[in-house]
C-alpha cells in the first residue's frame, strides 16, 4: 500500500486537476485505487472532477469542499484562485468504493444508500468495511451517521467532515466520481491492506459552567435550566458574546463552544462539541449539531495555542490507536474544523508542522470542514464541531 498527497493552487480547474494529479502519480509511483479530494469553493466546478477523472481513470474519487484552503505535508495551501488537495491510495491488495445519494427528506436513508453504493463499488456489498469516510453538507450529520451505521453496524469507524465554503454562504459541495454534487452524502468504503488508526478529539476543556437543556428544537436550544439559552450562554462567556447580538456569532463563539459528554475513558469524560452559530430573536441559541432536551451542556474553552497543537496530537493518537510509532506511518488524513482554522489562520504553518512532527516524512492531506465526524475511544461514531478527526495508515 502506497499513499501520496498533492495539491495545486492553479485557478483554472482543469490545470489545477492536471497539476495535482501529476504530482500525485509521481509521489505514488503507481495508479491510485482511491483519491480523496478537498477543494475550496472556487474550484468546485465540474471541470475540476472531469479533468481529475481523465487523469486518473482507474481511481474511485470522493471529496468535498474545504474552508479557505487545504494542507499537506508541504504546507498550508491557500491561493486567490482557490486550492485543491489530493490524497491518493495505491493498494492493489485492498478494496475501495465510492457511493453517493441525495440527502432529500431522509438524510438517514441517504447515508444508508450512499454506503450501500460504496460497498457495491468496492465489490464487498454485504460486508462491513474496515472504515468509512464520509462527506455531506452541514446540518443533518447525525442522521447521516445513523444511516451509514444501519448498514455497516455501529462498530465500523466513520471519519469525515461536512463540506464547507469560505464564508458560510452555502457554496459547499460534495464530489463523487465525475460529479460535483450539492446536498448529497458521499461515502467511501475502505478495505485497506495496511493497518489503520483513528482519533477524534477537540482542543477544548470544560470551564465548569454547565446546565441542562430544558427546551430544544432540532438544532436550537431554547432554554437552559429553564432560562433563555442566549442569556445563559452570554453569562457563561462573561459577556464576550452579548445576549442581544442576534445573528451569526460563529467567530465570537469559536473559543467557547458547548460540549456534551459523549463517552468515558477510565472515569475521564470525553466531550463532543457543538459550535453556537446564531443567536435568535427569541433568545434561542442555534448550533451546528443536533441537541436534545435533557442533554447536559458544558461551556468549553480552547486557547489558540491548544488549537494549533491539537491536530498533531490527534494524529499522534491515531497512530497510537493503530499500534505503531508515527514515523512508521504510510500516510494520513486530518479533518480540522474550519472554524478553528479561521481562528488560528495565521498559525496554520505551525499546525502543519505539528502534524509533520507526529508523522515524520509521511504524506497527509488536511481539510477544513463545518462539522467533523469521527470515532471516539469507545468506537462509537460521533458528529461534532470544532473537532479534529484523524486517520492514519501504518
Amino acid at each position: 500500500m502506497k499513499i501520496a498527497s498533492a495539491y495545486s493552487l492553479e485557478s483554472d480547474p482543469r490545470r489545477a486537476a492536471g497539476e495535482a494529479a501529476e504530482r500525485l502519480c509521481a509521489g505514488l509511483g503507481a495508479d491510485p485505487e482511491l483519491v480523496l479530494m478537498y477543494a475550496t469553493e472556487e474550484l468546485a466546478v465540474p471541470a475540476l472532477v472531469e479533468a481529475l477523472t481523465a487523469h486518473l481513470p482507474g481511481a474511485q474519487i470522493a471529496g468535498g469542499t474545504s474552508c479557505g484552503g487545504v494542507m499537506t505535508e508541504a504546507g498550508f495551501h491557500a491561493g486567490p484562485g482557490g486550492a485543491v488537495g489530493l490524497l491518493g491510495v495505491a493498494d492493489p491488495e485492498g478494496d475501495y468504493g465510492v457511493g453517493s445519494a441525495p440527502l432529500g427528506d431522509d438524510p438517514s436513508a441517504a447515508g444508508a444508500a450512499a454506503v450501500d453504493g460504496a460497498l457495491r463499488a468496492a465489490g464487498r456489498d454485504f460486508e462491513t468495511p474496515l472504515l468509512v469516510w464520509c462527506c455531506q453538507p452541514p446540518g443533518e450529520e447525525e442522521a447521516v451517521i445513523a444511516g451509514i451505521e444501519s448498514v455497516v453496524g455501529r462498530g465500523c469507524p466513520i471519519i469525515g467532515g461536512s463540506s464547507a465554503d469560505n464564508e458560510i454562504g452555502g457554496r459547499w459541495r460534495e464530489f463523487a466520481g465525475t460529479d460535483v454534487l450539492e446536498g448529497h452524502v458521499v461515502v467511501a468504503a475502505l478495505f485497506p491492506s495496511a493497518r489503520h488508526g483513528v482519533a477524534f478529539q477537540s482542543g477544548y476543556a470544560p470551564t465548569g459552567d454547565t446546565g441542562v437543556v430544558t427546551q430544544a428544537s432540532g438544532r436550537q436550544i431554547l432554554e437552559i435550566d429553564g432560562r433563555p439559552a442566549a442569556a445563559v450562554y452570554s453569562e457563561w462567556t462573561g459577556g464576550a458574546v452579548g445576549s442581544a447580538e442576534q445573528g451569526m456569532i460563529l467567530a465570537k463563539s469559536t473559543p467557547t463552544p458547548l460540549g456534551r459528554v459523549a463517552g468515558d475513558s477510565n472515569g475521564v469524560p470525553l466531550y463532543v462539541l457543538s459550535h453556537p452559530a446564531m443567536l435568535g430573536l427569541g433568545g434561542d441559541l442555534s448550533l451546528f449539531t443536533g441537541i436534545e432536551g435533557g442533554d447536559r451542556v458544558h461551556l468549553m474553552r480552547g486557547s489558540p495555542e491548544s488549537l494549533v497543537k491539537r491536530a498533531g496530537l490527534v494524529v499522534a493518537d491515531a497512530c497510537a490507536m493503530g499500534g505503531w510509532a508515527g514515523a512508521a506511518s504510510l500516510g494520513g488524513l486530518v479533518i480540522y474544523c474550519g472554524g478553528c482554522m479561521l481562528h488560528v489562520r495565521d498559525a496554520m504553518d505551525q499546525v502543519v508542522d505539528e502534524v509533520r512532527q507526529a508523522m515524520p516524512g509521511t504524506p497527509f492531506l488536511g481539510a477544513f470542514t463545518f462539522g467533523e465526524q469521527g470515532a471516539i475511544v469507545d468506537h462509537c461514531n460521533r458528529h461534532g464541531n470544532l473537532m479534529v478527526s484523524a486517520l492514519a495508515f501504518g
Binding site: 456489498d125 462498530g155 499500534g323
Partner: protein
C-alpha cells in the same frame, strides 16, 4: 496558569487515547496467551476447537460459533456451539473461499452472504443470524472458516475482527501442529508395519526358495525314475502303475510351480520374457495335449485358428502356454459331456484365445471371486475336481502383466467361456541356422559319444542323471563337488558339463567361474555348462547365467528336456556361445 492547565489537559487526553489502544492490544495478547496456555497440540481437534470457542467467548460475545472445513466443493460444519449445525454444508462460493484464503471479514447481516442463501434452501435447520465474523482457520487437513455470529445487526467491529483473526491464526497453528503430530505417529506406525511386512515377505521368500529346493530334489528322483521306468519296456498293469506315478509326480510338479509363481508375484520377482514366438505352433503341443485328454473323457475338441492369428508375435511364449493350459485344463476338468471349443484369433489388436466348454458352469457371484487366490466355485469343487484354486488367479496375473486380461461368462449348467487376451505385437521370424533335432542327434549312431562331466553331491541324483545320459550313450564322469569338477575339467576335455549348484566344498557357481577362468587362460572355446538346480526361481537362474553357465535346467529333471538342451548346446558349440534358461 491557564496554559499549564491546557497542556496538562491535552496530555491527559492523549494519554487516554494511548491507554485505550494499549488496553485493546493487551486484550488481544491476553487472549493469545490464554490460547497458548489452554490449547495443547497433543489434544484431539474436537477438544482444541471447543477450547478455542471458550477462549473467544471470554473476549467477545457471540450467539453461535462454528468451524467449517472445506471438503470437496463445500464448507462443512465440523464443530459448533449449536450441535444441530454440525454436518451442515455451504457451497464454497467466492466469499467463503476468499476468507479461507486469509482475508477475514465482518458482515453486519449474514443473511446477505450469498453462501447462506443456498444453505437456507438445503438446510432449514441452520439459519443465518445477524452480525458475524468470518475468519480463516485450518485444522491442518485443509482450509477452513471460523464463524462467530450474533443476533445483533452489525454486532462486530473491525477491531473485533482483528482480535478473532489473531486467535484464529494461533488456533490454526495449534491444530496444524496436532495434525503433524498425528501424521508423524501414523507414519512411524506405517513404517514399522511396512518393515515387519517386508521382513515377513523376505522370510517367506527364503522359506519358499528353500522348500523349492528341498521338494524338487526328491521329486526329481521320483519323476525321472518314473519316466525311465515307464519307458523300460514294462507291460500291462505294471506299465499302467508306472504311468500313474509319472502323472502324479508331474501334477505335484505343476502345483509346486504354481506356488513358486505365486511367491514370485508377491515378491515382485516374476518377470516376463520378450522373444519372438510363432502362433499357433507355440500352442500346438498344449492344444494336442488337451485334445487327447478331452478325447479320453469322450469330449469333442473343436479348435479353430483364424488366418490372421498365424504368424510371429513378440512375448513370453512359455507364460502364454501356461495360461492356455490352465484354461484348457479347467475346461476339460469341469466338463463331463459335450465339447471343448477353442478359437484363436486377433481382435482389436489383441491375440484372443477363447476356451468354451459345456461343463457345470457357475453363477455371477462365483464369477466375481473365481480369480481370487485359493477360490473355487465352492468347497465341493475341490472335493469333486481337485485343484488348489491358484491357477486362474495366476493366469489373470500373468495376463495382466502382458497388458492383457482374462474374462469369463457362464451360467450354472450352461457351460463357461473364458477369453484370454494379450496385445498382438507382430515380430520378425528369427533367422535360425541348420541344427540337428535332438531326436535325430540322439538316433545318430555314427556320431561320437558325448563326454559329459556331472557334478552332483546327491547320490540318488547322480544315479538318475547317469540313467538319463545312458539313454544317449554318453561317456560320463561323475564328481561330488565343485572342486572335484574343476580338477576333472582341468585334467581332460568334455563336450558338456552338468553342474549342480548347491554342493559341499565348492558350490556350483564358484566352480563354473573357475572353469570359465581356466578356459580364458588357455584361450579355449567355452564348453557348454548346464546348471542343474532345484533353485528354480528367476533370480537363481540369473545368478547361474551370470556365473558363466550356458543354460539352466530345473529339477526335477525332465529327461527329454535335459537331453534336448544338451544336444542343442553341443550342436551349437561351433557357433558363438548363447545363454538361455530351460527351466
Amino acid at each position: 496558569m491557564t496554559e499549564e492547565v491546557e497542556q496538562l489537559r491535552e496530555a491527559l487526553a492523549s494519554a487516554r487515547q494511548q491507554l485505550a489502544a494499549q488496553e485493546q492490544r493487551l486484550r488481544e495478547q491476553d487472549l493469545a496467551l490464554n490460547g497458548i496456555a489452554a490449547l495443547q497440540a497433543h489434544e484431539e481437534p474436537e477438544t482444541l476447537i471447543a477450547k478455542a470457542f471458550d477462549l473467544i467467548a471470554e473476549a467477545l460475545a457471540f450467539d453461535r460459533a462454528m468451524f467449517l472445513e472445506l471438503r470437496d466443493d463445500r464448507f462443512v460444519c465440523i464443530a459448533s456451539t449449536e450441535p444441530a449445525t454440525v454436518g451442515c454444508g455451504w457451497r464454497a462460493g467466492p466469499f467463503f473461499r476468499r476468507v479461507a484464503d486469509g482475508r477475514a471479514a465482518v458482515v453486519p447481516d449474514e443473511a446477505r452472504v450469498p453462501e447462506w442463501a443456498e444453505a437456507l434452501g438445503a438446510r432449514p435447520l441452520v439459519e443465518p443470524l445477524k452480525g458475524a465474523i468470518y475468519a480463516p482457520i485450518s485444522a491442518g487437513a485443509g482450509p477452513g472458516l471460523l464463524v462467530l455470529s450474533s443476533a445483533g445487526h452489525g454486532a462486530y467491529s473491525p477491531a473485533d475482527l482483528r482480535l478473532v483473526s489473531r486467535l484464529g491464526i494461533f488456533v490454526s497453528q495449534t491444530l496444524a501442529a496436532a495434525q503433524r503430530r498425528r501424521l508423524a505417529e501414523a507414519a512411524r506406525a506405517a513404517e514399522t508395519e511396512r518393515s515387519q511386512a517386508v521382513e515377513a515377505s523376505e522370510a517367506k521368500s527364503r522359506f519358499l526358495a528353500n522348500m523349492s529346493h528341498e521338494i524338487r530334489t526328491p521329486l526329481n528322483g521320483v519323476t525321472t525314475v518314473a519316466v525311465l521306468l515307464a519307458e523300460s519296456g514294462l507291460q500291462g498293469r505294471q506299465r499302467e502303475m508306472a504311468g500313474l506315478i509319472v502323472d502324479s509326480s508331474r501334477a505335484l510338479e505343476g502345483l509346486l510351480n504354481d506356488i513358486l509363481d505365486l511367491a514370485k508375484v508377491e515378491s515382485g520377482r516374476l518377470s516376463l520374457e520378450e522373444a519372438p514366438f510363432e502362433l499357433p505352433s507355440a500352442l500346438a503341443s498344449t492344444f494336442e495335449l488337451f485334445a487327447i485328454r478331452a478325447e479320453e473323457r469322450d469330449l469333442a475338441f473343436d479348435l479353430r485358428v483364424a488366418p490372421e492369428a498365424r504368424g510371429w508375435f513378440s512375448g513370453d511364449a512359455a507364460r502364454v502356454r501356461q495360461v492356455a493350459a490352465n484354461l484348457l485344463s479347467n475346461a476339460v476338468k469341469f466338463t463331463e459331456r459335450g465339447e471343448i471349443g477353442v478359437s484363436l484369433a486377433i481382435e482389436d489388436g489383441f491375440v484372443t484365445l477363447e476356451v468354451r466348454d459345456t461343463g457345470v458352469g457357475f453363477d455371477a457371484e462365483t464369477a466375481a471371486r473365481l480369480f481370487r487366490r485359493f477360490e473355487q466355485a465352492d468347497g465341493s469343487v475341490t472335493r469333486r475336481f481337485g485343484g488348489t484354486g491358484l491357477g486362474l488367479a495366476l493366469s489373470r496375473t500373468l495376463a495382466g502383466m502382458m497388458d492383457g486380461d482374462i474374462a469369463c461368462r457362464s451360467a450354472p449348467g450352461e457351460g463357461s467361456t473364458f477369453t484370454f487376451r494379450f496385445p498382438a505385437r507382430p515380430a520378425d521370424a528369427p533367422v535360425l541356422g541348420e541344427r540337428p533335432s535332438a531326436l535325430a542327434a540322439r538316433g545318430d549312431n555314427d556320431a561320437p559319444p558325448l563326454t559329459v562331466l556331472v557334478a552332483e553331491d546327491n547320490p540318488n541324483n547322480r544315479t538318475i542323471v547317469g540313467m538319463v545320459l545312458e539313454a544317449v550313450h554318453a561317456r560320463t564322469v561323475m564328481v561330488e563337488n565343485g572342486a572335484e569338477a574343476v580338477a576333472a575339467f582341468a585334467a581332460a576335455p568334455f563336450d558338456i558339463v552338468l553342474m549342480d549348484l548347491q554342493m559341499p566344498v565348492m558350490d556350483g557357481l564358484s566352480a563354473t567361474r573357475r572353469i570359465r577362468e581356466l578356459e580364458r587362460r588357455a584361450g579355449a572355446r567355452p564348453t557348454p555348462i548346464i546348471a542343474l538346480s532345484a533353485n528354480a526361481m528367476t533370480h537363481h537362474v540369473d545368478e547361474a547365467l551370470a556365473a558363466g553357465s550356458t543354460a539352466h535346467v530345473a529339477k526335477p529333471i525332465d529327461p527329454h528336456r535335459l537331453i534336448e538342451v544338451m544336444l542343442a548346446l553341443t550342436a551349437a558349440a561351433d557357433a558363438p556361445a548363447a545363454s538361455a534358461s530351460a527351466s
